[in-house]
């Protein structure tokens, strides 16, 4: 095994969900991924009408090396929508690769970027999705001894369902906290002495704020030792802020409704491990969205779930900007590590000639201004000039006498980080919306 990890070590420490796969030499991982990519290609062409059309002329035998994978066209989310819209069988249309009576699980995307995409699973494919999440939770230190609190009604969204079933499979005791308000959830966590939490980063911050109002200090009065973030990206400053507020280890993970959860942080908490060889991960360049790029370069993530036969996805464009980390991880896992940087391609826009992504604002605010409890960015148009306004809500303990100085510092830091000038507007406490699942802190008001 690589990295000096012996079988005896892994048996003793129980550090890995699957010590065999997680410490395989990279060459072996590549062999398995190539073999599985051919298999999923063959399955998709043979069983999904969408891929039968899309992959016409491409044969699995043509993919002899991982470099050959780039010959296969990338799948875009819009194509998934078009393949479902008005097509039979109802809801899933041309994407489905199994007979409808085999389906047992329904989920859908949130619809943030358009009409939702419906993603079903068979019992088999769902168990595989859950299994991958077991890798994620185990790497984040979740163990059978944990009592896991999930403060959400999971609804039709996949994230917490995966987390719930995976935690169960790990042997954890899962406490679903859906039908409660935030205060009720905090009380319940206290009552049951929950040791672990699955949360969106936004709601994690909000829960800490509400707990404080209730006279509860999450660090002192609750028993949460670890938290896994889901539902939206967790920029490093936000993750660190959560760790500070909760006195817990906070782990990010990455995934989506279409591909499932495909990466997560290990105990090092430096980047996220791709769950290989269950997924094939690639990076393509920002300009053409097709050319492969080397480690250490910013690009767009493309992922292929390699074992989900129900609704195959080949080279799915995640539109997330990322970078592959080159150096081996100290945790001993040999899988590729990625760093989520700069948000989503969809959010990238040019303002006054400068590329801007709202993720920058979150990094600055969460990283340097703990006095800010909530914020929102507005993009407006004044005559021909686009104007960026950051609306901030300070902690009630911050007196008005401090506002002017803070506004100045925020403006300065944002200018340094984004090369853009922001108007800063202070909103009274409670004046900005609080989010639970996906936050929406950027409003483009130039769109009619």
């Amino acid at each position: 095994m690589e990295g000096g990890v012996t079988v005896e070590d892994t048996k003793k420490t129980r550090k890995y969900w699957n010590p065999i796969i997680e410490t395989l030499p990279r060459e072996r991982l590549a062999e398995i991924e190539l073999k599985r990519f051919r298999e999923v290609l063959r399955w998709a062409k043979g069983n999904s009408p969408f891929y039968k059309r899309k992959l016409h002329g491409i044969e699995p035998e043509d993919i002899r090396t991982l470099e050959d994978v780039a010959k296969v066209p990338v799948t875009e989310k819009d194509e998934l929508r078009a393949a479902q819209e008005g097509k039979e069988p109802y809801l899933y249309g041309d994407l489905l690769a199994v007979s409808p009576e085999r389906l047992s699980v329904f989920h859908q995307t949130s619809g943030t970027t358009g009409k939702p995409v419906y993603i079903p699973d068979t019992y088999e494919s769902w168990q595989w999705v859950v299994e991958v999440w077991c890798y994620i939770l185990y790497a984040a230190g979740f163990r059978a001894q944990d009592r896991v609190f999930i403060p959400f009604a999971y609804n039709v969204y996949i994230a917490f369902w995966q987390g719930h079933y995976a935690a169960e499979k790990l042997g954890c005791e899962v406490v679903p906290g859906g039908a409660l308000d935030t205060q009720g959830r905090i009380q319940k966590m206290k009552e049951v002495k929950a040791t672990a939490l699955m949360n969106t980063p936004t709601y994690g911050l909000h829960m800490a704020e509400v707990a404080k109002e209730m006279g509860i200090d999450p660090r002192r009065d609750l028993s949460i030792k670890r938290m896994i973030s889901s539902g939206e990206p967790t920029p490093e400053p936000t993750r660190l802020r959560l760790e500070e507020l909760w006195g817990a280890e906070v782990y990010d993970h990455i995934g989506g409704t279409e591909p499932g959860g495909w990466g997560g942080m290990c105990s090092e908490r430096k980047g996220m491990h791709v769950i290989e060889p269950h997924y094939l991960f690639e990076m393509v360049d920002l300009e053409t969205m097709s050319k492969p790029i080397p480690p250490g370069t910013k690009g767009v993530a493309v992922v292929t779930p390699l074992c989900r036969r129900c609704i195959p996805l080949i080279r799915f464009n995640l539109k997330d900007m990322m970078m592959v980390m080159d150096e081996p991880c100290r945790c001993g896992r040999t899988s590729m590590r990625v760093d989520q940087i700069g948000g989503r391609v969809d959010d990238l826009r040019k303002i006054r000639g400068v590329f801007f992504t709202p993720a920058v604002v979150e990094e600055v605010i969460r990283g340097k201004f703990p006095q800010v409890v909530e914020f929102e960015t507005h993009l407006t148009q004044e005559e021909v000039m686009p104007v960026l306004t950051l609306r901030v809500e300070f902690d009630p303990s911050i007196g008005e006498s401090q506002w002017k100085e803070l506004r100045g510092r925020i403006r300065e830091q944002l200018k340094l980080r984004s090369n853009l000038t922001f108007e800063i507007e202070v909103v009274k406490p409670g004046g900005l919306p609080r989010y639970t699942l996906k936050s929406s802190r950027f409003k483009d008001l130039t769109k009619k």
Binding site: V7, Y123, Q127
Partner: protein
């Protein structure tokens, strides 16, 4: 001591074969069919986690 991948692989295949036979034997009995199907879903994950690595 190394992990006995070959041994695990052969047990996974045996469970799979057994579940398939059970499904046939229990045809028409929902509880047998569905539970056998559930076992096959779990052996699929085991194959992807163990057998594929061994092969």
């Amino acid at each position: 001591m190394e992990y006995d991948l070959k041994g695990m692989d052969s047990e996974i295949k045996a469970i799979e074969e057994s579940a398939k036979r059970l499904k046939v034997l229990g045809q028409g009995i929902e509880t047998v069919e569905r539970n056998a199907e559930a076992i096959l879903a779990f052996t699929y994950s085991l194959r992807k986690n163990i057998s594929d690595i061994f092969e």
